[in-house]
Structure formats: C-alpha cells, structure tokens
C-alpha cells in the first residue's frame, strides 16, 4: 500500500475506531452530550445522529449525485421503518424475514414510484414525488388497514427482536448497530460512485442531453439512482425503527423530506462526507437546540424573539438559507476551502 493510499484510508479508519470505542468512555462532556458519553442518553442521541447521517447519504445518491430533486425520499425511509414494525407485530414474522420484506418492499415501491415520476423531469418531478410521499403520509395517518397506529405510530414488537437491542441498558448495542449501518451505507455509496453506474449518474447530473448523446439511457440511470437511494433509505428506516423502538408518522411527512434536503445541502451535496456531516449535525442541532432553549440560555431576550429562537427549525431554516447563499458547496466545501486557503497563505 502506497503512502498516499494510506493517507487517504487512515483518517476514516481512525475515526471509525474512535466512534466504535465511544461506548467504553464513561466521562461526560458537559454542554455537548447529555450525561456520560456511554450513558443511555448520549448513546441514543449519537445513534440517532448516525442514522440521520445515513439518511442524508441515501438522499444524496438521488439529489447530490444524480441531480434529481426528489421531494419524496421520506416515503422510502418510512416504508422501510413501517414495513419492519408491521411485519414483526402484525404478520408475526421473524426478524430476518421482516428485514427482507422491508428492504424488498421499499425497493419495489421505489421502482413503481420512480417509473411513474421519472416520466417528467426537473421541477415537475419534484412535485410528483412530493405528491406520492404525501399519499403515503395520509395512508399512515388515517391507517385504513389498522396496522400503522395512526398518529401514535407503531411500536416495535420487543419480543421479536434480540434482547441485545432492547432496553435502556443496551443503548450501546443500538449505537453500534447505527454505526454499522452508516459504514455499510458509506461503503456502498463509495463503490457505487466509482462504478460505471456512478459515472453515468454524474454525467446525467452535469448535462442530461450530453449524457443521452453519449448513449446512456437517462431514464434508466435515474431510475437506478432512485432505487439505490431508496434501498439505502429503507435500510436506514429499518435501523431507525430498531434504534428508536418503533415507527412514527413524522417519518412520512413532507417536512421530513425537506429536512433531508436541508441536511445534504448544509453538509455539501454530491460529497459523501458532506452528506454524512450534514445529517449528523442536523439531527444533533435539532435535538440540542430544543434542549438549549429549555435551559434558559435565551432568557435575556425579549419574549417574541425568545419564542421564535426556541424553535430549532427556525434556527436551522434560517441557517440553511444563509448556507445556500454564502456557502453553496455546503459546510464541508466551506471547510475544505478554508483549509486550502490556510495552506496557501
């Protein structure tokens, strides 16, 4: 292995080792994490952050890599999550089969929705995917078949899941599960990006008509991107359900899809680390800002401003607008630029 490859491979490996080791750290980092690093609160928060990083990565396959502005990605994450919890609880399947059903069902759904929605391009595609996701959201909320639990959501059938993944004390195992999911997603996306299909996706993103002239079937490339992204999203949904102990209707909402878009753009669209960082930080900020607003940090401000700033989504939405304007390549792009600038001067 050359020194160059080593230099490229080493940081992620070290980072992974560090993340994998976190459950053995029992000190606390006040203000950053709730309680001890390996306490259940921190573990749960970090696990969810890792799952969100994977969500963002899966959406980036569609949006950042292929340039498809889909507003329906939540549909596939929710499909993975709900198919798992419903298969376990209502159809009494064993866990491995339920996972297969969730992944298979999500992939099939992506094929059908993609085949229809990709008949239009650009902004119309965005609207159509949004409509499909909305339909799913309505089904989940109205719960006509009596399986999704409506607004309450669907709890995970605890006796169908290995004991290691259940209970407060086992938070570290769920954390490792989330970390494992993120690693799998990262590896798959890296492999995809370097494959012929990945190059085709990049070509479609850069210039659709030129890609068509090169003999690529633009429709198929887009469909492939949508299906792969949805598969990863569905896998994330499965892990999300296991980590959080159930499925919630918020996973199906348009707001959730929009937040995926925000994560990817915040981190840096079309870059693996950008999506990962964006997803992780978004959920972290969402969770911690809520806490910060309850802790009295904002007490000195006038009432109206206080109540507005106490809304994490207001802060994130406004920050997002700022990033779109001033750092169109996202936080990682900005970071990279600053680093390069620092090296040069």
């Amino acid at each position: 292995m050359s020194a160059r490859t080593l230099l490229r491979v080493l940081p992620p490996v070290v980072l992974l080792a560090l993340l994998a080791y976190l459950p053995y750290l029992s000190f606390s980092v006040p203000g950053v994490l709730p309680g001890r690093v390996n306490g259940p609160g921190s573990m749960q928060l970090l696990a969810t952050c890792l799952v969100f990083a994977g969500f963002a990565l899966s959406y980036d396959v569609v949006f950042g890599r292929t340039g498809l502005l889909s507003f329906g990605h939540a549909l596939f994450i929710a499909a993975g999550s709900y198919l798992l919890t419903v298969s376990l609880a209502d159809w009494s399947m064993p866990l491995p089969l339920a996972v297969l059903v969730a992944l298979g069902g999500t992939t099939l759904l992506a094929l059908v929705v993609g085949a229809v929605a990709l008949r239009v391009g650009g902004i119309a595609f965005a609207m159509v995917t949004l409509a499909f996701a909305q339909a799913a959201s309505i089904i989940v909320l109205r719960d006509p078949a009596g399986v999704t639990g409506g607004e309450e959501g669907k709890a995970l059938a605890r006796d169908a899941v290995p004991e290691l993944l259940v209970g407060v004390a086992n938070a570290p195992y769920r954390y490792w599960l989330a970390l494992g999911f993120l690693v799998v997603a990262l590896v798959l996306v890296r492999l995809l990006v370097r494959s012929r299909a990945g190059h085709a996706m990049a070509a479609v993103r850069e210039n659709e008509s030129r890609a068509a002239v090169l003999g690529l079937s633009v429709y198929r490339v887009k469909l492939l991107a949508l299906v792969v992204g949805s598969f990863l999203g569905g896998l994330g949904g499965v892990v999300h359900a296991l980590v959080l102990g159930g499925s919630g209707p918020h996973l199906t909402t348009a707001e959730f899809t929009l937040s995926l878009l925000v994560m990817v753009v915040l981190g840096g669209a079309g870059s693996t680390w950008g999506a990962v960082v964006g997803g992780f930080l978004y959920h972290y900020a969402d969770a911690r800002l809520t806490e910060a607003s309850g802790s009295g940090v904002l007490d000195a401000l006038p009432g109206v401003l206080q109540s507005v700033l106490a809304q994490p989504l207001f802060v994130l939405g406004a920050f997002f607008v700022v990033v779109v304007y001033f750092a169109p390549s996202g936080l990682t792009g900005l970071g990279g630029r600053l680093v390069r600038k620092g090296v040069r001067t």
Binding site: L69, V116, A117, R119, V120, G121, G122, I123, A124, A126, M127, V128, L130, A131, F132, Q134, A135, I138, I139, R142, P144, A254, E255, L258, S259, L261, V262, V265, V304, S307, V308, L309, A310, Q311, P312, L313, F314, L316, G317, A318, F320, V321, V324, Y325, P328
Partner: protein, 294 residues
C-alpha cells in the same frame, strides 16, 4: 340525489380553494421557473393576518364586515411578503433555479417554526359570519353557503387574472415571459420588475386563499398552509404547469374527485385518489407536463 348535490357542491367549493392556492403558484412557476415552497407560508401569513385583524377589530362590528376588512389586510400583507421575498431572497439567485427552490424551502421551514413559536402549534378558532355558516336548500339538499362564496371568489379571480393576462400590457409581458424570458429582455423590457410584481400578485392571491381556507376549516394553524400547498402542487402539475385555464380545470377536477371518493368509497380514499389521478395524468400524457418554461 340530495347527497350527490351536496358532495358535488362541496367538491367544487374545495376545488375553488385549490384554484386560489394554485393560481399564484402556477403564475410564478410559469414566468420565472421558480417552484415556490414558501407559497404555503404566504397562505399562512394571510390566514394569520386575517385572524389577528378580526380579533383586533371591535367586537361590536358585524363578523362579516370584520372578515371583509381582515381579508383586505391579509391580501396587502400577502402582497408585501411576496414582494419582499422576491426582492431579498429570490432575485439575487437569478438563473440558479435549484438554489431558488432551496431558499424557498428554508423560508417555509423557518416561517412555520416562527409562527409556531409566536402563536403556538395549536389551531385557533376563527369567527365565521352567520350568513356563511348557514345553509340553503337546492334540489332537496341543504348546502353550506360558504361553498358558494369560495366558488364566487375563485370565479372572480379567474376572470380577473384572465383579463389581466389578455388585456393589459403587464399580461402581455407575462405571457411572452412564460414562453421565452430571455427574448423579452432582448426586446428591452425589464423582465425582473415583472417578476417582482408577479411574486407580489402570487403572495396576495395566496393570502386570500389562506383566509378562505381558514374559514373553511374554522381555524388557523401553522401547518395549514403547507398541507394546502401540496394540493396546489398537484393541481399545478395536472393543470400543465403555468397555464391558468389548465390550473382552473385541474383544481375543480381534484376537488370533485376527492369529495366523491371520500363519500362513495371511504374517508381518506379521496386524498389517495387525487394522487392516483396525478399518476394517471402522468402516464397518459406526460408530454403536456414538461412545463411552459423549462
């Protein structure tokens, strides 16, 4: 029979609301190529402006009069918000359509959160004039009067917008701009000023839609605008992206399909059948949906 009449009138009334919500969106999209996610926020702004105005006016005033004043205030607020959003957020990103969409996404997220922060997430009841809350009997069916108001307003708006497009210089520039923005500029016309006007117009119409929808729902709530926006998107796509008459027909079709399915199949099926309708339209005539402006 009387049930059918009620379902049809309700469907048309709902379709009228969808038209109000979609027409501004369609106009903005057709001319500028901007998919405006903040359109829902404009509706919310209108609904809340009207609710606050009605509350601020003396209770001795008739509810109908208060609603009228509130609607005027809401339309002004909507227009101002639209103009402001275009001038501050959209215009600097001219020609960057994806970024423009992203900015409107950020704006919609932040504004919903801001409304939740200030007035809470719970719905607030809005006063409804007795006249609108009443019913009339037609063909043996007792029909709520407010449905007819929505239809009348939608019809007036359709006529007004059509007259604007066909009979005024602004309309001429808009129609030409929908076809080919660049060439309009190359004829020496400042199309960007038209963008601002159209955004303001879209905001005003959205605000009106928000006011009437809150009358229909009986409440204002932060997420109302967003949920109405989704139907507006569906209507705009079915209607052919940027065509006013297409939008009107699609809005009525969506309202009717939704109500008929809800009544004759099961509650909740209506929303799904709307999406099915969309899928059907996409499968049968995708070419007409490419949009007036690419």
């Amino acid at each position: 029979m009387s049930d059918l009449v009620l379902v049809l009138v309700t469907g048309l009334g709902l379709g009228a609301l969808y038209f109000l919500a979609a027409s501004g969106l369609s106009l903005v999209y057709g001319l500028m190529g901007v998919l405006n996610f903040a359109h829902g926020s404009f509706m919310t702004a209108g609904a809340y402006a009207a609710w606050l105005t009605m509350d601020a006016l003396p209770g001795s005033m008739a509810v109908g009069l208060r609603l009228l004043v509130a609607a005027v205030v809401a339309v002004l607020v909507g227009a101002a918000v639209g103009v402001l959003a275009e001038a501050v957020l959209i215009r600097p990103l001219y020609r960057h359509h994806i970024q423009q969409v992203l900015v409107t996404v950020g704006l919609s997220l932040a504004s919903v959160a801001a409304v939740q922060g200030i007035w809470g997430s719970d719905p607030h009841p809005v006063a409804k004039p007795a006249l609108l809350a009443g019913t009339v009997e037609v063909l043996g069916a007792r029909l709520p009067v407010d449905r007819f108001l929505y239809l009348a307003v939608a019809l007036a708006l359709y006529g007004g917008l059509l007259a604007l497009l066909e009979r005024t210089r602004l309309g001429l520039v808009i129609r030409a701009g929908v076809e080919n923005r660049t060439m309009v500029q190359a004829l020496g016309i400042d199309v960007r000023r038209t963008f601002t006007v159209v955004f303001g117009l879209g905001g005003a119409v959205a605000a009106l839609a928000g006011v009437l929808y809150s009358q229909y729902a009986g409440t204002v709530s932060p997420l109302q605008g967003g949920s109405l926006l989704i139907y507006a998107f569906i209507v705009v796509v079915i209607g052919g992206m940027g065509s006013l008459t297409g939008t009107a027909v699609a809005a009525m079709a969506v309202g009717l399909v939704q109500q008929l399915a809800n009544y004759y199949a099961a509650s909740g099926i209506g929303d799904l059948s709307v999406v099915l309708l969309l899928a059907l339209v996409l499968l049968l005539r995708p070419s007409s949906l490419k949009g007036a402006a690419a």
